[in-house]
């Protein structure tokens, strides 16, 4: 073999080997998708000053998402807070003072509105608060925070719950084993077991609607515009503008979950 042949054959072999070597790298659809990138990131904005506690959002959500209407669980709910001038909690008429306490309730998730000034303290017991004792009272809508660092996704032992590229945490009903670890892992208490499907259930920003250009059921049904959904990647979206320029709060930042539901006028007493 002379030098010319040697070089020729070497080039052929190297070139030939290079093709199968590149073929060995598997094409990961997720990597491809990420390279392309999603131009949507769903976020939610709740204005507590606009919420009147009518419960239309809860009604609409239950009907839209087939969560049994009378079951005592809900994907979204409304909380009522009644803060007294002395900062204390009223328990069954007399002034007990557990330091942790707060006058707040969410009977049936606030589905039927708050029609009595009495506070529901559980197991059907109601407690009345004198009007002159009240310093402030307000309503706070709650739903899944679609965290950027979701503990529920982290703890699922089978990967049945996952975060989509556009920022929503979903549950695969066909794969969930119903261990309840995600329910335990959520600091916001948004998860529960669906009474019929017997798997973990939670708010998903009405994913079936928002991906088709519709609003979520709760946003659609809110008569006061207290609830809004938007795309954080669209700078002209009114929600994005508020989140970027307004003073917005998030719930329980201490858990490091990076929630994507933003609140306007969030009171320090909100749990």
């Amino acid at each position: 073999m002379d030098r010319r042949d040697f070089l020729k054959q070497t080039i052929t072999i190297v070139a030939g080997a290079a093709i199968p070597a590149t073929a060995l790298e598997f094409v990961n659809p997720r990597t491809l998708f990420a390279a392309h990138g999603s131009d949507v990131k769903w976020v939610f904005l709740a204005d507590t000053q606009k919420c009147v506690g009518c419960g239309f959002c809860v009604k609409a959500c239950k009907l839209e998402n087939e969560v049994p209407y009378d079951a005592n669980v809900s994907r979204t709910w409304v909380e009522r807070y009644v803060i007294c001038k002395d900062g204390k909690m009223r328990v069954e008429g007399n002034m007990a003072n557990p330091g942790f306490g707060i006058n707040a309730d969410s009977p049936k998730g606030g589905r039927d509105g708050f029609t009595t000034p009495k506070i529901d303290i559980g197991e059907g017991k109601l407690v009345e608060i004198k009007e002159e004792d009240i310093s402030k009272a307000f309503f706070v809508p709650k739903l899944c925070n679609q965290c950027d660092n979701p503990p529920c996704v982290q703890v699922c032992p089978v990967g049945a719950t996952y975060k989509t590229g556009d920022g929503v945490v979903l549950v695969d009903r066909s794969w969930c084993i119903g261990c309840g670890y995600c329910v335990m892992g959520c600091p916001y208490g948004v998860r529960f077991f669906h009474p019929i499907y017997k798997v973990a259930e939670k708010c998903n920003f009405c994913y079936h609607r928002i991906t088709k250009g519709l609003k979520t059921a709760c946003v659609q049904s809110c008569p006061f515009g207290a609830r809004q959904i938007g795309n954080l990647k669209d700078p002209n979206d009114p929600v994005t503008r508020t989140v970027m320029t307004g003073r917005v709060g998030i719930l329980k930042s201490e858990y490091g979950t990076k929630p994507q539901v933003y609140y306007l006028a969030l009171d320090r007493e909100v749990r």
Partner: protein, 418 residues
């Protein structure tokens, strides 16, 4: 009205979120309790095999077999707890490794294999002897034919019982027992990690949880071995006394002295691990009170008010202090040791209860409480599975299994090398 999971046994007080219920009920109390027994029983048997504590010979073989009987039962509460029990296998098939539970399949089966192989080496001469004996019997009945099949299968084709081979067996047992200790600790420490890593739960989240779990696991495992050992020895004593020589048992006096010796020594280890467990638990409690972070207001309410009786009277008082005194008073008798061990077992059970149920006794809102009402008379499948009925089923099963395993691997009659 459609009942939601957890609604049947949860009482809510003050401000709780609408979806909050006691989702992890009695079966999740049983799960760490049962795995604790498995791990503890194994550690006890390893004391003999690895550290050569010769006096523990009898109880070591017993606790190894019992640990094997407990093994499948550690999985039972999980199956009874799952909302989709048929999908439980997904944890093994498609584990999602960021979850603490996902490692369960791997840790559990590794541990199971170690215990099974150790048992095989311990009982190999017995398998060989029984298989050969049955082979020689030309007029086998149906049962003996089955036994022959079983035992010859169990030998795995290895019929060599020469001195040399047995010595190798012994080495293998030592190695497996040594390997088993860290794996057993991992199995249980990992159960502690499942709870300790839940950042959403103020009571559970502490890095001490795995270590606390291991120590209390060893306590419960040893306590259970003592109790079961005493019970079986009492039965044998009774048989020996009634039938005399005909029973083929050692004499009553021999049994009696052997029993108290073993019990005395084992109880020393029991007390040691108890002290370790209590120290860590108290450290955790003091630390929480001293640092008094946001959650302390409600935790204090749960620990010192709502659950005071369950924690300080039933767990620390009846379950730890009282048996500690019983074991430490001079002149330990078998009866006193038995009572002490029973109380300790109860104490560890209460510890599991106070962690699992206590951790759900307050709302994530830190402004309300939840109370678990154990369903005693079930009114549907859910209240049967996650109520007294389910718990009792989990407690009984290891004894049923032990009965059958004992037929194949006799714990007492066998005079093997180990």
């Amino acid at each position: 009205m459609i009942e939601v999971h957890g609604e049947a046994w949860t009482l809510k007080e003050f401000f709780t979120y609408p979806n909050e219920y006691i989702y992890w009920s009695i079966q999740i109390v049983m799960y760490p309790f049962m795995t604790g027994l498995v791990a503890g029983a194994f550690v006890l048997s390893s004391l003999y095999h690895v550290f050569g504590v010769k006096q523990l010979k009898n109880i070591a073989r017993f606790s190894l077999v019992f640990s094997f009987a407990l093994l499948p039962v550690a999985m039972m509460p999980l199956m009874l707890h799952l909302q989709q029990p048929l999908r439980g296998i997904h944890v093994m098939m498609t584990p999602h490794f960021t979850s603490a539970i996902a490692a369960f399949g791997i840790v559990f089966s590794t541990y199971g294999m170690i215990v099974a192989s150790e048992l095989w080496f311990v009982y190999r001469p017995h398998f060989v002897a029984t298989a050969l004996e049955l082979k020689g019997n030309s007029q086998r009945g149906l049962i003996d034919s089955f036994r022959y099949l079983l035992f010859s299968a169990l030998t795995l084709g290895s019929y060599d019982v020469s001195e040399d081979a047995l010595e190798k067996d012994e080495k293998a047992v030592g190695f497996l027992a040594g390997l088993g200790i860290p794996v057993a600790c991992f199995l249980h420490g990992y159960a502690g990690f499942i709870f300790g890593s839940v950042k959403a739960n103020a009571l559970w989240m502490t890095p001490l949880m795995p270590v606390i779990f291991i120590c209390s696991a060893v306590v419960s495992g040893i306590a259970l071995c003592i109790i079961t050992y005493i019970v079986t020895m009492e039965i044998r004593k009774l048989l020996s006394r009634r039938k005399g020589k005909a029973s083929g048992l050692p004499s009553y006096e021999e049994l009696r002295s052997a029993e108290i010796e073993e019990v005395k020594l084992t109880s020393k280890y029991l007390v040691m691990f108890l002290i370790a467990a209590i120290t860590l638990e108290l450290l955790d409690l003091i630390f929480r009170g001293y640092t008094a972070v946001k959650s302390w207001d409600i935790l204090r309410e749960v620990i010192y008010q709502k659950d005071f009786y369950k924690i300080f009277v039933m767990q620390y008082g009846m379950g730890n202090l009282l048996p500690f005194i019983l074991f430490k008073l001079p002149g330990l008798t078998v009866r006193r040791a038995g009572l002490g061990a029973c109380l300790m077992l109860f104490g560890v059970f209460m510890m599991r209860w106070n962690v699992v149920i206590g951790g759900q006794a307050f709302s994530s809102s830190f402004a309300g409480f939840m109370e678990y009402v154990l369903p005693i008379i079930p009114h549907n499948i859910e209240t049967a599975k996650e109520g007294l009925v389910g718990a009792v089923a989990v407690i009984i099963t290891p004894y049923v299994l032990f009965y059958f395993i004992n037929k194949v691997m006799p714990v007492f009659k066998y005079k093997g090398a180990h």
